[in-house]
């Protein structure tokens, strides 16, 4: 594989950039693989990369119904953080933060990781207490957390609404300085390019039609491009998890829901942090191109539409304007939607299943993008070793049976309905 560097850039400039290698090949599927990963999104591509890199398993195919990176890895708001209170979430996410910091070097691909910090705003004394508790839990797990008072927040984000008599006054906030953003498409492309270079087949336009299971063991997958035998199969299909689960006669604690995001027209640099509204569900950051990148609540009903509906957008942007009134002056540039695999306790599932050789990676809710490297790393371990790693032990499927829910928000079942 051609290494990307200043030297290769200069060298290729002499031939008008016409002789670059393809970043990944377009192979026809073989009859059999050691591992087939279904889903060519961030998590699937990362899983294949870590299977090859960490476990030396390279007879691997990724099969993708559309094109790689066309789902949620290309549709998110690029936020990366590990500001969780519960140990299982905190340790998993912080392990991921380490992978993010090294990712551009590791993949020889600039993923534009920008650890600009995230601030969760608090709008009451009670919320400040909750944030103090969460911040302390984070620090006990080795994650950076700073509790800010109103004046400190005002110094960092003066454009937020600090006027008197507002409905949701800003009391302060919890900041994780090491959190940030990254270029989401580059993450997919970087993993794809490296996985391909180590021998992984990336097979696009290949839809799963069914599975071959006999005597409780996975034998292969039937696709629109022929049958493929596989010793092990991993599902990484986010919002389409239920569609594949039905083909396997499984019913999962997952519902598929629609989440929208939007960007404004580009403006000059105004916001150098990720900020979340504490009295509702709204988050914002500014992209390198100057667009304000915003998102918030689900549309609220089961959906596979991958496109949004106006009432939710209006609701989300009303919160945004309550938090930062200048947003009302901006024109909207684009809105879009993606379909989320909402788990019943708000935490993901990375586990083996009752079918031998079939592995499950789903339930990422709103937080799939930031988990990309840690999810790929632990899922690769789970597949290669046929046992979960201690980092994803808490993300087991059986927790819904036993009652050991990983309920970060403390809201109980169907956390998104509140």
């Amino acid at each position: 594989m051609q290494k990307y560097s200043i030297f290769s850039l200069v060298k290729n400039a002499f031939s008008n950039h016409e002789n670059w290698d393809l970043a990944w090949k377009d192979p026809t599927p073989k009859n059999e693989y050691d591992v087939v990963i279904i889903g060519g999104g961030g998590h699937g591509l990362a899983t294949a990369y870590y299977l090859a890199k960490e476990h030396n398993i390279t007879n691997v195919a990724i099969i993708e119904k559309g094109w790689i990176g066309g789902g949620n890895v290309g549709r998110n708001t690029t936020i990366i953080r590990s500001n969780y209170m519960h140990d299982d979430n905190a340790l998993f996410s912080e392990f991921g933060m380490d992978l993010w910091r090294k990712m551009s070097q590791d993949l020889n691909y600039n993923v534009m990781f920008s650890p600009r910090g995230i601030i969760n705003l608090a709008h009451s004394d009670a919320q400040m207490n909750v944030y103090a508790r969460r911040g302390n839990s984070m620090r006990l797990n080795g994650i950076d957390a700073v509790l800010l008072n109103r004046e400190q927040v005002k110094e960092i984000i003066p454009m937020a609404d600090f006027s008197e008599n507002v409905r949701f006054p800003i009391f302060g906030g919890l900041m994780q300085p090491s959190a940030g953003t990254a270029r989401h498409d580059a993450v997919a492309w970087g993993y794809a390019r490296q996985a391909d270079s180590m021998g992984v087949d990336i097979i696009q336009n290949c839809e799963v039609i069914g599975f071959d299971v006999s005597s409780g063991k996975i034998q292969g997958v039937r696709t629109s491009r022929g049958n493929i035998k596989a010793k092990k199969i991993g599902l990484c299909v986010a919002g389409s998890t239920n569609i594949l689960a039905e083909k396997l006669n499984m019913t999962l604690p997952i519902e598929t829901h629609l989440l929208q995001a939007c960007v404004s027209e580009p403006v000059k640099p105004v916001l150098d942090k990720v900020v979340t509204f504490g009295a509702g569900h709204f988050y914002i950051s500014q992209s390198d191109k100057g667009e304000m990148v915003m998102g918030g609540d689900l549309d609220g009903y089961n959906s596979y539409a991958q496109r949004g509906n106006l009432p939710t957008l209006q609701h989300v942007l009303t919160e945004g304007i309550a938090m930062m009134p200048f947003l009302s002056k901006l024109k909207m540039l684009r809105t879009w939607g993606g379909i989320m695999d909402m788990s019943m306790d708000g935490s993901p599932i990375i586990d083996k299943t009752h079918i031998e050789g079939l592995y499950l990676n789903c339930g990422w809710c709103y937080g799939g993008f930031k988990a990309t490297p840690a999810s790929g790393w632990t899922f690769a371990h789970t597949i290669a070793q046929d046992r979960v790693h201690e980092l994803n032990a808490g993300y087991n499927l059986n927790r819904f049976n036993t009652g050991h829910l990983l309920d970060e928000k403390g809201l109980g079942t169907k956390t998104w309905i509140s």
């Binding site: 604690p253 519902e255 009903y301 089961n302 596979y304 509906n309 819904f400 169907k414």
Partner: protein, 89 residues
């Protein structure tokens, strides 16, 4: 914007309704021995498929009645609505 025909009030905008999830889910019979698996299925496990889906909505800013709606989860087309006590045929 979805337009939902409330069986009590007629056609109204989505803004008047709140969502209540899969309407085909049945609570295990009271007074009967319930296994962990049955309870787990009732509380957590959902088919949530692409295509036609019977679901509960509440006409929260209208008559406040719960209703059943048959809607396509991919196209958002609404085929049918029923009162809460009417059986899905």
């Amino acid at each position: 914007m979805l337009h939902i025909k409330c069986p009590h009030c007629g056609m109204r905008s989505q803004n008047e309704f709140s969502y209540g999830g899969d309407a085909s889910v049945k609570r295990p019979e009271l007074g009967k021995e319930v296994t962990d698996e049955e309870w787990n299925n009732f509380v957590y496990n959902r088919k949530s498929l692409r295509g036609k889906h019977w679901e509960l909505w509440q006409h929260l800013s209208g008559c406040r009645q719960w209703i059943k709606v048959e809607r396509d989860t991919a196209t958002h087309e609404i085929f049918n609505t029923l009162k809460a006590n009417e059986e899905i045929s």
